[in-house]
Amino acid sequence: MAQIITDSNGVKRYLITIFVNGDSHTLLVKGNAILTNVLRDDLNLTGTKKGCELGDCGSCTVLLDGKPVDSCMVLAVEADGREITTIEGVAANGRLDEIQQSMLNHAAVQCGYCTPGMVLSAKALLTRNPHPSEREVREAIAGNLCRCTGYVHIVEAVLAASRGEITPADHEEGEPQ
């Protein structure tokens, strides 16, 4: 249980330690602080997006102990002692993850606001199921709303990544049927 510190107005704050993208952070948070805001405001990890704060859109998806969650539905105190991967932790040493590269190759990114959550949901899928069917890809990203793409190129990109088909973007002339 996190240590509680009460200020002069009687407001309680909790001392938590979270492990974000491999780094340990010890923070003092209010009981009502949501993980999204702690990541964005306290740790400046603004790749985690806020779209609805109701758990509907999936823009704030992070991996909590490897599982994709809407970070707006997680209280920061619930994350105490746990491992979190945000979009900033997906590429390693400037090298893109296969899913990220595949999203670029397939033009699966438009406005990009759902993209971090989409990448993390796909990442979690391919970690537990390296060779998903199209249906399984669609199920895995069904909690991530995208208003731009109709999901067509996103699904293609995830499937291509699962098959290891990562080629530079520019090799394609038009739409594969």
């Binding site: 400046n44 670029l104 406005c111 909690g143 709303l145 394609e172």
Partner: protein, 777 residues
């Protein structure tokens, strides 16, 4: 067709792609400034009420609250997007006109304090009867939303071209149908957000906007500033679809709060507030009458529409005109009458949503045309081919159409969808439908009256020639304009895309551009960029001519290599020549600007719908309906488009997918619902249902070979027009599957089920009647 292009026509990687997949792309809500405050707007809980008093004293006492403002603290001049009807104030002073109308604002040290402070502002209201049903808004005795708009009429249109009554009288068959379109909301995934910062008399606003220029114009007007003292910067924008065209209370209130406190203020809408701000698709009642000859050739069309505008005008005058103006594009007919009332109601204001004004009328007309075809026993594909517009024609409302390959689109869609086979053989409960669409490639006239060019661009080649930067006011809101404009710049310069950089949509750094609306940037911003690129190329070749001692006419440049057309061994790199140019002649710059030619007729409203070019498209959809539940499964959609020369195929098809996706949402189940007090019932993304990855049907998107003679490299639009056929296509596929027509959007499972129940009941009654006669003994 010239296939020697090196940069355009290729699916290059998005220029903003790496930033977006790694989370480093910054949107307005991601930005922080030292000493920044957070602001929120207090909105009305009532649809229509007189404001008796506002008491902010308790809120002001709350620790952490830095300012509370009401109408007394801000400029009182009215604003709006359409200059003909400025009817909105930063804050309401006398009365509120919808649930969500702006009353006051606070700024505080953090978000949590903002929400607490809003609750402490005491507003006393006298509730007034509200106008919630747009079909009765014009009735005698209805309350007035705005006192100076009698019968709540916001916009009234009566246009007639040719002689409709005469043509109808001469028709072989005349049919009238009525359809209803629902309110939908753009629902970009990024909520609106703005940050206002004053530096002396200069105001800088970071905004989630589709048009920095219009923001700059309207903010300057409201705060009585010179345009040059307002700087609008568009960071990455998480989608707009028409919903981020105009400044909102966020920019206005935020700027007032920032001025008062002397600190940067970040304002934001939460999801429910986005729904209340709205500016989405109007609800619309559409009666259409068509007269045809024996073969199905359209002789006359009469459209009689009423639109629910909500409490303010926004861009709604244009929406109202567009609803009728774009109807005569895909089919040729000479006689056309369009009557429209856009009415005020005490509901959120409607505006421009993808396909602006056109998708619902297109749904109505395409459904109606299939009814006509069924009356005459004509195949829906055939009646469209018979009436399809030809290139180099003029619509009855004076729109000049140059390139037009709708016939080729229909024929291709017929083949790839397996239309003829399916039309004959699809089993009971399955159906196939077709619809067409067309859209402007940019508006012929700007939103406010001005003689400014519609787009401008500057290209600056770096001193050492290793890179070039494109400066454009065009707004990439996700559609990819930054990428394709860099492709166009590189093509025009004879350079490489990989060496392009871009600075876009910052009114201080970039030349003006009207921004992302009316599907205009590839064509209009592209025309300015092409001109700028060609100016760079010309100067570069002149420099190279001196360096190589060859006539300039003998030189050309492609992919960064300057070469002699006559001597194979004479080459020079772009880089060398550009560097030399800088040393001898100073900065290597190219400039471009685009102004459309004078377009359209001279009747009232003739400007709306004019465009230098029109896209055309066809969609075919196949559905399977579960007759027990009404559940509709979309088995496939085929889209074929005439969108001119394609600059980036993958981005182009992405636009088609997205437009179709939005159209399918509107066709299937998206609808903003209100309770009997005018409050939105589903202002969240769980209850306002957008299609998920599991709901999106399989799509095949193709283009026909096309070249628009007026466009840079022959381009036309794609982004908005692809929404136009979708609703009608879905409606017609359902009609084909079950033989009954659902006359209102969305075409939900429930409505389909009810229509099937009704049909069965009628059939059963019919059988009973015939049995009764036969068995009388």
């Amino acid at each position: 067709m010239n296939n020697n292009y090196k940069v355009i026509g290729r699916s290059v990687q998005r220029i903003d792609g790496p930033d977006k997949v790694t989370g480093s792309a910054k949107y307005t809500g991601d930005l922080k400034f030292p000493n920044m405050l957070f602001g929120k707007i207090l909105t009305s809980p009532l649809a229509h009420a007189r404001i008796l008093s506002i008491d902010t004293s308790e809120a002001e006492k709350l620790p952490g609250v830095k300012a509370v403002i009401t109408h007394k603290d801000v400029p009182s001049i009215k604003y709006g997007l359409s200059p003909a009807r400025w009817d909105e104030n930063i804050f309401c002073s006398d009365k509120v006109r919808f649930v969500g109308d702006k009353v006051a604002a606070v700024c505080c040290v953090d978000e949590e304090t903002c929400y607490k402070a809003l609750k402490l502002i005491k507003v006393a209201y006298e509730e007034l009867p509200a106008v919630l049903d747009y079909l009765h808004a014009m009735d005698e005795g209805q309350p007035l939303v705005h006192d100076d708009y009698k019968r709540n009429i916001n916009t009234e249109i009566h246009q007639e071209f040719g002689n409709v009554e005469q043509a109808l009288a001469a028709s072989h068959h005349v049919r009238t149908d009525t359809f209803v379109g629902q309110r939908t909301y753009q629902s970009p995934i990024e909520p609106h957000s703005s940050i206002s910062i004053w530096d002396g008399k200069k105001l800088t606003i970071y905004a989630s906007t589709q048009s920095p220029h219009y923001f700059q114009h309207y903010i300057a007007r409201q705060f009585d500033l010179a345009m040059g003292d307002v700087r609008i910067i568009k960071p990455h924008v998480g989608g707009g679809f028409g919903g981020k065209m105009e400044p909102t209370g966020l920019e206005f209130a935020g700027s007032a709060l920032a001025k008062l406190t002397g600190r940067p203020v970040r304002m934001f809408y939460d999801r429910a507030e986005m729904f209340a701000h709205n500016r989405g698709r109007h609800a619309q009642h559409m009666e259409i009458t068509t007269g045809v000859d024996k073969l199905g050739k359209i002789l006359a069309v009469k459209a009689n529409f009423i639109m629910d505008g909500g409490a303010y005008t926004s861009l709604g005058i244009a929406s109202a005109y567009y609803a009728g103006a774009l109807l005569p594009l895909t089919y040729e007919f000479a006689n056309y009458k369009f009557d429209m009332f856009r009415v005020y109601t005490n509901l959120p204001a409607c505006g421009a949503q993808r396909g602006h004004g056109a998708p619902q009328p297109k749904y109505a007309f395409e459904s109606h045309l299939d009814n006509v075809a069924a009356d005459l026993g004509i195949d829906p594909m055939d009646i469209r081919l018979l009436n399809a517009r030809r290139p180099d024609t003029v619509t009855p409302n004076d729109f000049q159409v140059n390139s037009c390959k709708i016939r080729e689109c229909l024929e291709r869609a017929r083949v790839i969808s397996g239309w003829d086979e399916k039309k004959k053989n699809l089993p009971h409960g399955r159906g196939i439908g077709v619809a067409t669409g067309s859209f402007v490639t940019g508006a012929g006239y700007s939103i406010y009256r001005t003689d400014l060019p519609h787009a401008a661009a500057v290209i600056k080649v770096n001193e050492d020639g290793t890179n070039a930067t494109l400066y454009t006011g065009a707004a990439d809101i996700g559609q990819g304009s930054d990428t394709i404009l860099c492709q166009m710049a590189a093509e025009a310069m004879g350079y490489r895309y990989e060496q392009m950089k871009i600075v876009a949509a910052d009114t201080e750094l970039t030349p003006m551009d009207f921004g992302a609306y009316a599907s205009r940037q590839t064509y209009m911003s592209g025309a300015a960029v092409k001109q700028a690129g060609e100016e760079v190329r010309k100067q570069l070749l002149e420099m190279a001519s001196t360096m190589l001692s060859l006539p300039v006419d003998d030189l050309d440049c492609t992919e960064g290599i300057i070469f002699s057309k006559s001597r194979a061994n004479k080459t020079l790199t772009f880089q060398e020549a550009a560097r030399r140019h800088f040393v001898l002649r100073g900065p290597l710059l190219g400039r471009g600007a685009y102004t459309p030619p004078k377009l359209g007729g001279s009747f009232k409203g003739a400007a709306v719908g004019t465009s230098p070019a029109y896209s055309f498209g066809v969609q075919v959809g196949e559905v399977a309906i579960d007759e027990e539940t009404g559940e509709i499964s979309v088995e496939g959609i085929w889209d074929v488009h005439d969108c001119g020369k394609v600059i980036n195929p993958r981005l182009l098809h992405g636009q088609v997918h997205g437009a179709l996706y939005m159209g399918m949402g509107e066709a299937s189940w998206e609808e903003v619902l209100f309770d009997d007090k005018g409050k939105i019932k589903n202002a969240d993304l769980a209850n306002y249902r957008m299609l998920t990855a599991l709901d999106m049907p399989p799509v095949q998107s193709e283009v026909v070979d096309s070249h628009e003679p007026t466009g840079p490299w022959g381009v036309k639009e794609i982004g908005e027009g692809s929404t136009n056929p979708t609703l009608g296509m879905f409606s017609n596929a359902i009609f084909d599957a079950m033989g009954v027509r659902v006359n209102s959007l969305p075409l939900s499972y429930e409505k389909v089920w009810r229509a099937l129940q009704k049909k069965r009941k009628e059939e059963a009654e019919g059988r009973r009647l015939s049995c009764g006669t036969g068995s009388a003994n």
